[in-house]
């Protein structure tokens, strides 16, 4: 499975978060918003300096610097069944 940076993702595509390598404070802020490993996200919009993702039913605007440090992967076919959110045990 190929990992890419969140900043390289394509708009309106679903992805699954693989790792978050930002500084500790930012990471904590992301975590309480439910941005965790294995969380499913959709990229809604991309701009030069940031992007909007949808995670757990909410839209979040993120700095590009953050999105460069989050690794994501594409959603597998068998993971597509559950809408909004999916976590593998």
């Amino acid at each position: 499975m190929r990992f890419i940076n969140l900043s390289e993702g394509i708009t309106n595509e679903e992805y699954i978060i693989q790792s978050i390598n930002v500084d500790k404070a930012t990471k904590s802020r992301l975590q309480v918003l439910g941005i965790l490993k294995e969380t499913k996200i959709i990229i809604l919009n991309k701009r030069i300096n940031g992007l909007i993702i949808k995670v757990r039913g909410t839209r979040l605007g993120l700095d590009k610097e953050i999105s460069k440090l989050i690794k994501i992967r594409e959603v597998r076919e068998n993971e597509r069944v559950k809408p909004c959110f999916y976590r593998k045990s």
Partner: protein, 601 residues
């Protein structure tokens, strides 16, 4: 009488303040962006012979104390101030909201979940199985709609009921580590799977609008266009109505003069009332239409959900100033009034970012500076008046950007806060919310006219009519002239070397509108008779360039006393406040001097 202490807690923008207002009849500001409430507010009301004290806490995502707001809420809970915590949950964003709910339940405190925005949930065709959710979480859950005031009685009755059975617990707030958070969200997703049906996304409305408003290419131009339209409307429509108000005021002033003369009131008192109070306060009231339109536009921006998008769109530009896009929200609020704008900097995480934003806020022309622009642009720039007035806003923004870039270059240790902002769903602005918001601002403006401007007008009249020799016929011999003339040499290089202007600039420290009120009094102009003011000013060699300089100086020099006091309160630093004041005066002088000297060449 039994007393019950309730605390409203919940994620930002979930409707806590709407609920608080619904219960208490308070008029606290609500809007559609995360972080509107920055201070905890308390109110009491009686419910079935029980005194209910409610506290509205700022919105938080967790109890892990990352931000000032979270620390306030966390401390409040730890101290056991509340008998029962009402966790207000945005049901349309249930999954994320449940994280805080789990943390709250874990504290051991009595918690009730108020499932707000059920109307939106229903509209979306989503179904939440409340009974099952209660089973899973082990707490009472009451579906409500704070906006439509449904479920409010049930919520209050449940709180009272629980208060009888509830024993005091050991309250313990735990800080979650990564593992804890993951565990909680695991559990939440399991709950969502079991309790929520049809969670298909139906918020296509917001996504469609966003495709245009935050578009990669046209997003920023649209934002600039929206702000331009806001100010254009403020000036054009506002001025249109203003003309009629001026006529009305002139009639009133003449009537008062006629009555006072007829009932034999002495000339000194007549002069105080007509030349002092009516001319000063009345002159300010004619600007009310401009103010109403400005705040109406800001209210629409705030309540529609666009405000948070501005933070996102502007993130790139703010990055160049070493700030996060979030700093843009206080700056936009600054177009209304600097006081709430300075307070809104609390949403920024670092003290340094807050102070740097406070440095930029005064450059955003607040509504009090509007009368100055309207008056002087109107007098001296004829049909270009609107463009000149609009350019003041642009100059302010350019100066702010310049300051931002320079301070960022000077300070090598700036660690820019990275933007993470929740973007709420768009909604049609709520009529009541907008009406209350504008109503509140109009009230503030009238109160200001009735207090600060009223008193300033009387003092000014006194300063101009009394001199070292006692009552003076000619204002040239008054105390006002003595003080003003001291400043003339300093103001001369910036084209404002008139003692009257000096006095009006000093009086403008109380409130910026006072500059206009005082100029009317200083030059002995009858109520808002702008033609007369123009003739007088022209006769002393005050021309369009001087008017431009006056506008620019007013734009940039020290903000009003209320703003300075707020800066002092928020930063708890006299040193910073004094530095800010000195900086603003110097900045205003330099910018105006450069412009005056270049254009006068």
């Amino acid at each position: 009488m039994k007393e019950l202490n309730l605390a409203f807690i919940g994620n930002p923008n979930c409707g806590k303040t709407t609920l608080f207002n619904a219960y208490t009849g308070a008029n606290l500001k609500v809007a559609n962006w995360p972080g509107v409430t920055i201070e905890k507010k308390e109110e009491s009301f009686d419910y079935n012979d029980i005194k209910i004290n409610v506290t509205d806490l700022p919105g938080i995502y967790s109890l892990n104390s990352y931000s000032i707001e979270e620390q306030i809420s966390r401390k409040y809970i730890e101290e056991g101030n509340a008998d029962i915590i009402i966790d207000v949950i945005d049901a349309s964003s249930l999954e994320r909201n449940l994280y805080l709910a789990l943390q709250l339940i874990e504290t051991g405190q009595a918690v009730i979940l108020a499932l707000n925005m059920m109307d939106i949930v229903k509209k979306r065709g989503m179904k939440i199985n409340i009974n099952k959710l209660e089973d899973k979480l082990g707490v009472k859950i009451i579906p409500i709609s704070a906006k439509n005031r449904s479920g409010l009685d049930e919520l209050m009755e449940t709180a009272i009921e629980i208060s009888y059975s509830n024993k005091v617990h050991n309250i313990r707030v735990k800080i979650d580590n990564e593992q804890d958070i993951t565990k909680k969200y695991d559990y939440i997703s399991q709950i969502i799977d079991e309790c929520v049906e049809n969670k298909k996304d139906r918020e296509k409305f917001t996504d469609k609008i966003d495709r245009i408003l935050v578009n990669k290419i046209i997003g920023l131009p649209i934002f600039i266009a929206i702000m331009s339209i806001v100010f254009l409307l403020t000036f054009t429509v506002g001025d249109f109505i203003k003309e009629y108000l001026e006529l009305l005021l002139e009639l009133f002033s003449n009537k008062v003069l006629y009555i006072l003369n007829n009932i034999g009131i002495g000339p000194a008192v007549t002069s105080l009332i007509v030349d002092g109070i009516i001319s000063g306060v009345g002159g300010i009231l004619t600007f009310l239409p401009n103010i109403v339109i400005l705040f109406l536009c800001l209210a629409l921006l705030e309540d529609s959900g666009y405000m948070a998008r501005v933070a996102y769109i502007m993130n790139g530009i703010m990055q160049k100033l070493g700030l996060s896009g979030k700093a843009c929200i206080p700056m936009i609020l600054g177009f209304g009034c600097s006081v709430p704008a300075v307070m809104a900097t609390r949403t920024l995480k670092s003290e340094k970012d807050r102070r740097r934003t406070m440095l930029l806020i005064p450059c955003m022309s607040c509504s009090a500076k509007l009368p100055i622009y309207v008056l002087f642009a109107g007098l001296f720039f004829g049909k270009h008046a609107t463009i000149v007035a609009l350019s003041m806003y642009l100059i302010g923004v350019i100066v702010a950007i310049t300051i931002g870039v320079i301070t960022q270059k000077l300070d090598k240790n700036i660690k820019r806060e990275k933007l993470i902002v929740e973007l709420p769903e768009y909604k049609i602005p709520d009529f009541t919310t907008v009406r209350k918001y504008v109503g509140e601002k109009v009230k503030e403006y009238l109160e200001k006219a009735g207090s600060i401007i009223f008193i300033a007008s009387i003092i000014l009249w006194g300063v101009l009519n009394i001199g070292p020799t006692g009552f003076v016929e000619n204002a040239e011999q008054s105390f006002g002239a003595v003080i003003g003339k001291l400043l003339v040499p300093i103001l001369k290089p910036i084209g404002l070397g008139y003692w009257q202007i000096a006095v009006s600039l000093i009086s403008g420290l109380s409130a910026k509108e006072v500059v206009v009120a005082s100029i009317n009094i200083l030059y002995g102009v009858e109520t808002s008779n702008s033609a007369q003011l123009y003739t007088i000013l022209e006769s002393v060699g005050f021309e369009s360039l001087n008017a431009l300089c006056l506008m620019i100086f007013c734009l940039l020099y020290v903000p009003c006393i209320a703003t300075m006091a707020t800066v002092k309160n928020e930063t708890k630093s006299n040193k910073f406040t004094i530095k800010l004041i000195a900086f603003q005066i110097l900045l205003a002088w330099i910018v105006t001097a450069v412009i005056y000297q270049i254009l006068n060449f």
